[in-house]
C-alpha cells in the first residue's frame, strides 16, 4: 500500500523542557517596532514575478548592508535591488538605494547623489575599506557583472570595477560576499560565492513539468543544474585585485550552489576562515592554511551536513559564540520541512550538531534566509533572529500554514545551551508575515540595542527597532586598524566582566547576502563595568584595556591605549537615549517621571513641561507629557507634544492619527474619535484611521458604521487582518454566518497567528452545522491562546453537541477554572 514514507521526518522537533518552558511563559523583556515607513525606507525591492517564477533567478531576493558611509557615527543603509524577466525601460528600472541616517529616526534617500543608482539582477552586498583611506567602500554582487564602488569621501561613490580588475568574462551568478584579509597584509581581499551557472536560454522551466513542489510546477534547480564556483580576489594594494580562485583552492570545495557567506576564525588560530552556506549540497568551511590557500574542511569537521548525514538547503549563516566557550559557533538557515542547523564549535576543529539538543529543532515550517546571533535583551547571551519567506510564490495556491510570506523566528538564549522560541510572545511586527530575504544587524539609533534591517521580496523593506530591557547594560566597540585593515575585519574581542567572559569578532559578510554593522556589541546584564577587554587584531597583535565604562560607545585604535582606559565616545542618540544635562535638570527629570509613574498626572505636567523644554529630544519625557495631556483631556497640547516628538506638523493628518491612537490606547474614545475624524478629513487615504474609528464604532454597537469604516480601511490596505477580523466580528453579532466565515477566513489568510478569528470561526461553523470544522478552529485558537476561556467554553459546547461528552466535560472544567482565575 501507499504508506506514507518517513522522508519528511528526517528533520524537526525538540521538546523544550523544564527551565526552558518556564522562561517561555514569561513575557520577553524586549520588543520590536517596525519604523521603516516613518524612517523613509520606502523603495520596494523588485525581484522577479510576484505570483510565479520561471527561473530560480527570480527567487533569491537581495541583501542589505549597514554602512557609515559619511563617517558621522550613524549607520546608513544600503539596499540592493533586483529586476524582472520582462525588464524595464531604462529610466524606470528599479535601482539600489542608499539611505543616509539623519540621526532623528529618519533616513534620506541619497542614491542619486551618491552615484549608486545602478540596476540589474542585484544579489548581495558587503562593505570594506578596500584602500584603507578611512572610508568604507561597497561591493554589490549580481547575476551578471559585480560592482565595486569606492567611497570618495564627498558623499559620492565611484564605480571602480573595471579599474580594479573585477570584470568577469561571462555571466555568473554571484551571491554572498565578504571582505577579509586572508593573507594578513593589512589589505582587504574579497570572497564572492557563486550559486548556479545559469543560462536562461537553456535552463528548464516549470512548464517542462520536471520540477514540482507539492504538486505545483515551480522554477527548476539547483539540483540538476551546473553549480557555480566561488571566487577569491587578492587585493594587490594598488587599487587592483587578482583572481586567485584556483591557486588558493577556493574552487576545490565539497559542494557548490553557494549563498550566504561569513568570515570567522574557525580554529582560533588568528587567521580568518570563511563559512559558505550551500544550497542542496554540503556547506563549506574554508580553513585558512596561512600560505595563501584554503582547504574546505566542512565535511571532515562535521559542519556541512545535517545530523543524520544529509545535505541541506543552506541559505543564511550567523556566526557567534552562543555558549560562551571561546569558540565561534555556526547557525545556518535551511528550507521548509527542515530545521535550521546549529553547530557548536568544539574548539578542536570539529562541529557538534546541537540543533535538537539546543531546542532549535522544534520548527520545520519556516524557510529561513537572513539571520544573526544578537543579544536582544543585553543579558550577555547571544539570541537568534531569523527572517523567513518561501522560495516559490506559487505556494500561495496551497493551504499551507507557512505560506509565501512568513513570520520571523526569534530564539532566546537561555544561557544553558538551549534556546526558547519566543516569537509568538513578541507579536507584531515579528509575527507579521513577509517574504523576507537579506537581514543586517546594527544599532542605527545608537541606543545600545541592536536593530534589524530587512530586505523583502517585491515589497518595501523593514527596519525593526529594538526596544530593549533598560535594566541590562551594554558596551559597543568600534575597532580601527592601523597596520591591520582599517575595518579590523578578522579581529577577535574577548571581554571579561566579573566571572563572565564573552568573545566576538569583526566579520565580513554574514546573514544572507548582507553586511552587519562592524561595531561589536556586547550585552552585559547587570555588570556595571567591563573589567578587561582584549583584542587580537587581524595581523596578530594583541592589546588589552581595563575598566571600561558601560552603556557607551568606545573606539579602540590598533596600537593605541595599551593597558589604558580607552578613549570614550558618546554616540548620537537621536531617539531614546539618556540626555546630557546638568545635575539639576536630571533631578527635575527624575521628579517629573516619578510623579507621572506614581499616577499624579496633573502634578507631573509642569515638571514634565520644564524637563522637555530643557531637553527637547527626550522622547521618554515627551511621551509621558503627551499621555498626561491626553489623560487630563487637553488634546491640542497632547497633539502638539506628539507632533514635536515625531517631527511632524501639529495640524497634519499624521499628528491627528498619532494622537488618536494614543487616546484610543488610553480608552478616551470620544477624544480618539475626534482626532481620527480630523485625520480622515485632512487625509482620507491615511491607513489605520478608518480602522481605529471603526473599532470605536463597534465598541459603541454602531455596527453598520463600523462595517463601512472597516471596508474603507480595506480599500487602503486590503491585507489588514484586523479589519477583516472586525468585519467578521460584526457579522457574527448580526448572525450573518456565511459572511462572517468569509471575512474571518480572509483574516486568517493575512495573519494566521491571532486566536480571535479562529474563535469566531468556531462559533460560525458551529452555527452552520459544521461541527468538525468548528472543533478544528477552536482547537487552533486554544493552541495559540491556551488561556482563552471563551475558546474552551465554545469548544466544550461543540463537543457536547457532537456527543463527545468526556472531552466536553474537560473543556467546561478548564473554562470554569480560567473564569475563576480571572476574578
Amino acid at each position: 500500500m501507499r504508506r506514507l514514507t518517513c522522508v519528511v521526518l528526517v528533520t524537526a522537533l525538540a521538546v523544550i523542557e523544564g527551565h526552558g518552558q518556564a522562561v517561555q511563559d514569561s513575557a520577553p523583556p524586549f520588543s520590536f517596532v517596525n519604523v521603516a515607513r516613518e524612517a523613509g525606507l520606502n523603495a520596494p525591492v523588485v525581484f522577479g514575478g510576484a505570483t510565479s517564477n520561471k527561473y530560480l533567478l527570480e527567487t533569491t531576493g537581495t541583501g542589505v548592508a549597514f554602512i557609515d558611509y559619511d563617517n558621522d557615527g550613524l549607520l546608513d543603509l544600503f539596499f540592493v535591488n533586483g529586476s524582472t524577466l520582462e525588464g524595464f525601460p531604462a529610466s524606470k528600472a528599479p535601482t539600489n538605494h542608499l539611505y543616509r541616517n539623519k540621526g532623528d529616526g529618519t533616513f534620506e534617500d541619497v542614491t542619486s547623489k551618491a552615484g549608486l543608482g545602478d540596476s540589474g539582477w542585484g544579489q548581495g552586498t558587503c562593505v570594506g575599506d578596500v584602500d584603507n583611506d578611512g572610508r568604507d567602500d561597497l561591493f554589490v554582487t549580481y547575476w551578471g557583472q559585480n560592482h565595486l564602488y569606492r567611497n570618495t569621501g564627498s558623499g559620492r561613490f565611484e564605480d571602480v570595477t573595471r579599474a580594479a580588475g573585477l570584470q568577469q568574462s561571462r555571466v555568473r551568478w554571484n551571491t554572498g560576499c565578504a571582505f577579509l584579509d586572508y593573507d594578513r597584509d593589512g589589505r582587504l581581499d574579497l570572497l564572492v560565492a557563486n550559486y548556479i551557472d545559469l543560462d536562461l536560454a537553456t535552463a528548464p522551466t516549470p512548464e517542462s513539468g520536471l520540477c514540482r513542489y507539492k504538486g505545483l510546477q515551480v522554477a527548476c534547480g539547483p539540483p540538476g543544474l551546473t553549480g557555480g564556483k566561488n571566487i577569491l580576489y587578492h587585493n594587490r594594494g594598488d587599487g587592483t585585485f587578482e583572481d586567485v580562485s584556483e591557486k588558493s583552492g577556493i574552487t576545490r570545495a565539497s559542494g557548490t550552489y553557494g549563498l550566504g557567506v561569513s568570515t570567522f576564525d574557525f580554529d582560533n588560530d588568528g587567521w580568518v576562515d570563511v563559512y559558505v552556506a550551500n544550497d542542496s549540497n554540503p556547506s563549506a568551511v574554508y580553513r585558512n592554511n596561512h600560505d595563501g590557500t584554503f582547504t574546505d574542511v566542512g565535511v571532515k569537521a562535521g559542519c556541512a551536513y545535517s545530523q543524520d548525514g544529509k545535505p541541506q538547503a543552506g541559505m543564511g549563516v550567523a556566526i557567534g559564540d552562543y555558549d560562551r566557550n571561546g569558540t565561534m559557533d555556526i547557525f545556518k538557515t535551511n528550507f521548509a520541512g527542515d530545521t535550521s542547523t546549529l553547530y557548536a564549535n568544539s574548539g578542536e576543529g570539529l562541529c557538534d550538531d546541537r540543533t535538537f539538543a539546543a531546542g532549535i529543532g522544534m520548527n520545520t515550517r519556516w524557510l529561513g534566509w537572513g539571520t544573526g546571533f544578537v543579544d536582544l535583551d543585553n543579558d550577555g547571551w547571544l539570541d537568534l533572529f531569523l527572517t523567513n519567506g518561501h522560495v516559490y510564490p506559487e505556494v500561495r495556491q496551497l493551504k499551507t500554514e507557512a505560506g509565501y510570506a512568513q513570520r520571523k523566528v526569534i530564539y532566546r538564549n537561555l544561557g544553558n545551551g538551549r534556546f526558547a522560541d519566543i516569537t509568538e510572545q513578541l507579536g507584531a511586527p515579528v509575527t507579521t508575515p513577509k517574504a523576507g530575504r537579506g537581514a543586517a544587524f546594527g544599532d542605527f539609533d545608537n541606543d545600545g540595542q541592536i536593530d534589524v534591517a530587512i530586505a523583502n521580496v517585491n515589497d518595501q523593506p523593514d527596519l525593526f527597532r529594538l526596544k530593549g530591557d533598560s535594566r541590562n547594560h551594554w558596551i559597543t566597540l568600534k575597532l580601527v586598524g592601523t597596520t591591520s585593515n582599517r575595518d579590523a575585519i578578522g579581529a577577535r574581542v574577548h571581554l571579561v566582566t566579573g566571572k563572565a567572559e564573552q568573545w566576538q569578532e569583526i566579520r565580513g559578510g554574514g546573514s544572507y547576502l548582507s553586511q552587519n554593522d562592524f561595531r561589536v556589541h556586547f550585552g552585559l546584564g547587570a555588570a556595571t563595568r567591563v573589567d578587561r577587554l582584549e583584542v587580537r587584531w587581524p595581523n596578530g597583535a594583541e592589546q588589552s584595556w581595563q575598566n571600561l565604562d558601560v552603556d557607551k560607545f568606545h573606539t579602540l585604535t590598533e596600537g593605541a591605549g595599551q593597558g589604558q582606559t580607552a578613549a570614550t565616545e558618546q554616540g548620537h542618540n537621536p531617539v531614546a537615549a539618556e540626555p546630557k544635562g546638568s545635575a539639576a535638570s536630571q533631578e527635575a527629570r527624575s521628579k517629573a517621571l516619578s510623579q507621572y509613574l506614581a499616577g499624579h498626572i496633573a502634578e507631573a505636567i509642569p515638571f514634565l513641561e520644564e524637563t522637555l523644554k530643557a531637553t527637547p529630544d527626550d522622547s521618554q519625557v515627551a511621551y509621558a507629557l503627551a499621555t498626561a495631556y491626553a489623560q487630563t483631556r487637553q488634546p491640542d497640547k497632547a497633539r502638539g507634544t506628539i507632533a514635536r516628538a515625531f517631527k511632524v506638523s501639529p495640524d497634519s493628518a499624521a499628528a491627528h492619527l498619532l494622537t488618536g491612537q494614543m487616546m484610543n490606547r488610553l480608552e478616551l474614545e470620544d477624544l480618539a474619535q475626534a482626532e481620527l475624524e480630523a485625520t480622515i478629513r485632512i487625509d482620507p487615504k491615511l491607513p489605520e484611521a478608518h480602522y481605529l474609528l471603526g473599532q470605536i464604532a463597534i465598541f459603541r454597537s454602531r455596527f453598520d458604521e463600523g462595517l463601512a469604516l472597516m471596508r474603507e480601511e480595506l480599500t487602503l490596505n486590503p491585507a489588514h487582518a484586523m479589519a477583516l477580523y472586525r468585519i467578521g466580528d460584526i457579522y457574527v453579532r448580526q448572525s450573518k454566518w456565511n459572511e462572517a466565515i468569509d471575512a474571518l477566513q480572509r483574516s486568517i489568510w493575512m495573519n494566521p497567528y491571532f486566536s480571535g478569528p479562529y474563535i469566531l470561526l468556531g462559533k460560525s461553523f458551529s452555527k452552520t452545522g459544521q461541527p468538525g470544522q468548528a472543533e478544528d478552529m477552536l482547537n487552533q485558537a486554544i493552541a495559540f491562546d491556551p488561556n482563552n476561556k471563551s475558546a474552551h467554553y465554545l469548544l466544550a459546547q461543540v463537543l457536547q453537541q457532537a456527543g463527545k461528552l468526556e472531552q466536553a466535560k474537560r473543556e467546561f472544567a478548564i473554562a470554569e477554572r480560567l473564569q475563576g482565575d480571572s476574578k
Partner: protein
Amino acid sequence: MIAANPSSAPAHDRLGFVLGKQGATAEAIGEFRTAVSLDPKFADAQYHLGATLWWTKDIEAARQALEAAVKLRPTHAESRYYLGLTKRQQGDVGGAIVDLRAAVASAPSLAVAHMQLGVALQEAGDIDAAIASLERAATLDPSRADTANSLGLALMQRGDAARAVTTLRRAVDQHPEFGSARLNLGTALLQTGAIDEATAEYRELTRREPENAEAFYDLGLALKQHDEFDAAEAALRSALRLDPKMAEAPYTLGVVLWQSGRADEAIAMFREALSRRAEYADAHYMLGTIFRQRGDLDSALAEFRETTRINPSSPEAFRSLGQALAASHDPDGASAAIAEADRLTRVKADSQAAVFAVNAGMERLRKDDIAAAIGKFREAIRLAPDNPQAHYQLSLALRKRGARAEANAELETARRLGCRC
C-alpha cells in the same frame, strides 16, 4: 422442472440462479456444476458457475469456468469482467487488462469494468490510461465511492494532488464511512501541503474507526509535519499498539523521540521496528546515527554496514559509515566508503542533470536545431548512460539528420533499457 427433466442443463442452471439469489451458494454451485457437466458448451452456466465461485473466493476454479465461458462466448462482457478480476487476483495483470478491455469493448457502459480496468492499468504502471478508465467509470456511475477512491490514488501517483483531493473529497462526502477514501484524501491533502485539513481527515477517521492503525499512523505523520510532537507521539503509539506488524509506526516514533532528545527510547523503537521487519534499512541507519553520536563506534559500524548491505544506493549511509570508520582509525575503509558516497551522490546529481539535458534537447528538436539537440542528448547520455529517454530522443534526432544506422542503434539501446518506444 428438474423433477420432470433431470437432464435439462438450463433447468439446473435456472435452479442454481434461484438458489444463489436465496443465499444458498453451495447448492447453487452444485446446480451450476450439474448444468455444465450436462452441457459443457452451455455458456451461461459456465459464466454463472465462474462468477459464483469468484464470489466464494475459489479463484482457481472460478478461472477455469470463466475461461470456458469466454471461449464459448468471447464477447460476453460479464464473463470477461470476472475473468479479468480473477486473473488480477492471481497476479496476471497483463491478462487481466486484456479481458477487462474486452469487457468494456463489449459493454461500454459497464462502469465497474472500467473501474477494474483502471485499477489493473494502475498496477501495470500505465497511470495515464488508468486515469482515463477510472474517469470513464466515474462518469458512468458517479455514485461509486470505490471508483473515486481509485481515481484519487491514480491522480496522486501522477502528481496531480489537487485533482486527487477534489475526487477523494467527493467520495468521502458521499460515503463518510469509506475509510480508505478518507485515508487517501488525507494523503492527497498532505501532498498539497494542506496539513491542517489532512489532520482533520485523519482525526475524523480515527474517531470513526478507533482500531484503524493506518489512520493513527498517518495522523501521527501529519501532526509531526505540523510540529505538534506530543500529539504525533500519541498517535504513533496508538498505531503501533493496534497493528503489531506495522514497522513504520515504531520507526517513525523512533525518529520523533530522537529529535526530542530521547535517544534511549528512540533506540528501543528502532529495535522494535527491526523486530517487525528485519530488512528495514532506515531503522538500521538511525540506530547507527545514534550510536555514532554516543561514541559507540562498534555498534554504529555494525548498523551502517547492515544499512549499506540492504540499501547499497544510499550515499548518506556510506558517508556515515566512512565517518565512523575514520573515527575508528580505519583510514582505508573510510576512504573507500566516502568514495562510494561521493560516487552515489554524483550519480544522483548527474541523473537529474541528464533529465534536464534531455528536456533541453527536446526543445531544440522542436525548433529543428538538430545539431544542438544531438549535443544535449549526448550530454545526457554522458551523465546517465542508462537513461532510456536520452537514447530514444537521440535516435529521433539522428534519424532526422539521416544517420539511420546510428539512429537504429540508439533506438535498440533505448528499448533494451526499458523504453516502450
